[in-house]
């Protein structure tokens, strides 16, 4: 009885010791196995010499040496291990090998499916160049359903949820294609721009699985979006290099590959890359440091400095903001960047850590962006009626108001947090709740604007 009990506790102790070692980045699973063999033999020898198992275990662990020093030695020998490898190796994250492989295969198949989906309309006589409007309106419908499907498979969503997720895609396909848009009209462009944003929220619901109603679930989706964007940009850069090489090589033998690149490589690659990027983010989220927060840290001070300089110049020179057609759009972009910086520093911040300089900087950034936007709005407020309410101008104004409200309340919450009157969690909640506003506004632009402005 005692012997049995002791044997169990030794296994438990070794398990604990093993999991403790596994947390060391420089010590890989094979090394843990090697060290474990050593530890077991040492324990066996000591128990043979008459020690009780737990005593033998303690002595063996002690002889193994200080774990910090040991992992330092391992790190010195295997310095490459401190650079997290970008190759997905199953031993690192503890998932079984087969699951990682299946995941990769599913993602790859869906990427191929997305690439094929882009070319399916060609069977019905649609051409990428001649029917550019059709492709622009339906762009998100080629890729996002497959991405939603990937997460539905990964999170094992039930059939009922799947049905609910399918509804917005069907609705989107209807609204994008039944309206009689005038050619070269701005409502068509607005639809093409806003539909992906509205549908992105559907992807988010699938991504978060059952956690969509929780702040954490939505915050994870925000993190995922940022990482996906960065991976996508990296893949696009690689694709650009590949394209340049292909053109250069085929040019040398007198073949012009441009039509192949324009109608096959580029569109299919761009569609498939979304799924590949999503898979990479999923596979690597536990392995590499999230990039978006790092970039945020780097650029928050710089953007804050640029905005403060802008405001300073405005006051110093006494110039007003010159109004032209794109002023509002330019300031929208400023607000979007500031919001992105805010969002990704919020997503990376540990809510329990104390207030610091970076938080003050964040408030300076948001406040100066708000001031700059207010100046711009003031300058164009009296002119907007003069120019009339075109769909573009209403859409731009709507986005501006939405971002302004978000940033203004964020600034209030952040100030409360800085003065110790509020918690950081309320800012997180505000940002994650606000995701719905973007989606609803985008959906409204897609559904309401075309008929309201006569499809112009």
């Amino acid at each position: 009885m005692t012997e049995h009990g002791e044997a169990v506790s030794l296994e438990d102790q070794i398990d604990q010791w093993r999991s403790y070692l596994r947390h060391r980045r420089a010590i890989h699973a094979v090394d843990v196995a090697e060290l474990e063999d050593h530890l077991r033999e040492q324990v066996a020898v000591l128990t043979d010499a008459g020690l009780a198992t737990d005593e033998a275990f303690l002595v063996a662990v002690k002889r193994m040496g200080d774990l910090d020093a040991l992992s330092r030695e391992f790190a010195r020998e295997h310095s490459d291990r401190l650079w997290k490898q970008l190759v997905v190796s199953p031993s690192d994250n503890g998932e079984p090998h087969a699951a990682v492989r299946t995941d990769a295969i599913v993602a790859f198949c869906l990427a191929v499916a997305a690439a094929v989906a882009v070319k399916v309309p060609a069977l019905f006589g649609f051409d990428l160049d001649d029917d550019a409007e059709f492709y622009a309106r339906n762009l998100s419908l080629f890729v996002l359903p497959l991405l939603t499907g990937y997460f539905a498979w990964k999170r094992r969503l039930d059939v009922r949820t799947l049905r609910w997720l399918a509804v917005p895609f069907v609705a989107a396909a209807v609204f994008a294609n039944v309206y009689p848009f005038e050619s070269d009209g701005s409502t068509e462009v607005l639809t093409a721009l806003h539909l992906p944003i509205a549908l992105w929220l559907v992807v988010g619901v699938a991504y978060a699985g059952g956690r969509w109603r929780q702040v954490d679930g939505r915050m994870d989706f925000i993190r995922f979006t940022g990482e996906l964007f960065i991976y996508y940009v990296l893949i696009a850069l690689g694709g650009g290099v590949l394209t340049a090489f292909t053109v250069a090589m085929f040019d040398a033998i007198g073949i012009d590959p441009e039509s192949f690149i324009g109608s096959w490589l580029l569109p299919c690659g761009a569609a498939g890359a979304v799924l590949v990027a999503a898979w990479l983010v999923e596979a690597k989220q536990s392995v590499i440091e999230n990039m978006a927060p790092v970039l945020t840290r780097l650029f928050t001070p710089l953007f804050a400095a640029a905005l403060v300089a802008f405001l300073g110049a405005l006051v110093w020179t006494g110039r007003g903001v010159e109004f032209d057609r794109d002023t509002l759009i330019k300031f929208n972009l400023v607000l979007i960047v500031v919001l992105g910086l805010l969002l990704y520093s919020v997503s990376a911040r540990d809510p329990r850590s104390p207030r610091g300089t970076f938080d003050v900087l964040q408030v300076v950034l948001v406040a100066s962006a708000l001031l700059a936007d207010a100046v711009a709005l003031w300058a164009i407020a009296d002119r907007i009626t003069e120019f009339g309410f075109s769909p573009n101008r209403v859409a731009a104004l709507g986005v501006n108001v939405i971002l302004l409200v978000n940033l203004a309340w964020s600034a209030v919450l952040y100030l409360r947090f800085l003065r110790g009157r509020g918690s950081f969690a309320s800012l997180e909640r505000w940002q994650t709740d606000y995701l719905l506003v973007y989606a609803v506004w985008s959906a409204a632009v897609v559904v309401v604007f075309p008929p309201a402005f006569g499809y112009a």
Partner: protein
Amino acid sequence: MVINKDLTAASSTPIVLAILAEGDSYGYAILQRVREVSGGRMEWTDGMLYPVLHRLERLGHVEARWEVSKGRRRRKYYRLTSRGRDQLAEERRQWQAVDATLRGIWRLLEPAGHPASATLVPSGA
């Protein structure tokens, strides 16, 4: 007597290579052999042997293979390669040179008639 860290680190390569020259072995057995041969004077921290073995493997002086021992436990065995043998010969020459130099110096320090062991411990230590 505790041998200092630098000396332990420097001597670990020839010692491990020499033990593997006797035959293939694995971590625990190598450590046992070190204790035996040194008569307990060399005390290595057990874990520290493994980074040394991995370094020798990276340099190509030893080769590793996994074997399933009795009791179904996997064990990593190390074997000296021909490059390792060359390295051992080289290390041996260097250590012999160091050894010869030190012996010469001890002899110079030694006052006539006193046994060597008495002067090994510096006065005041």
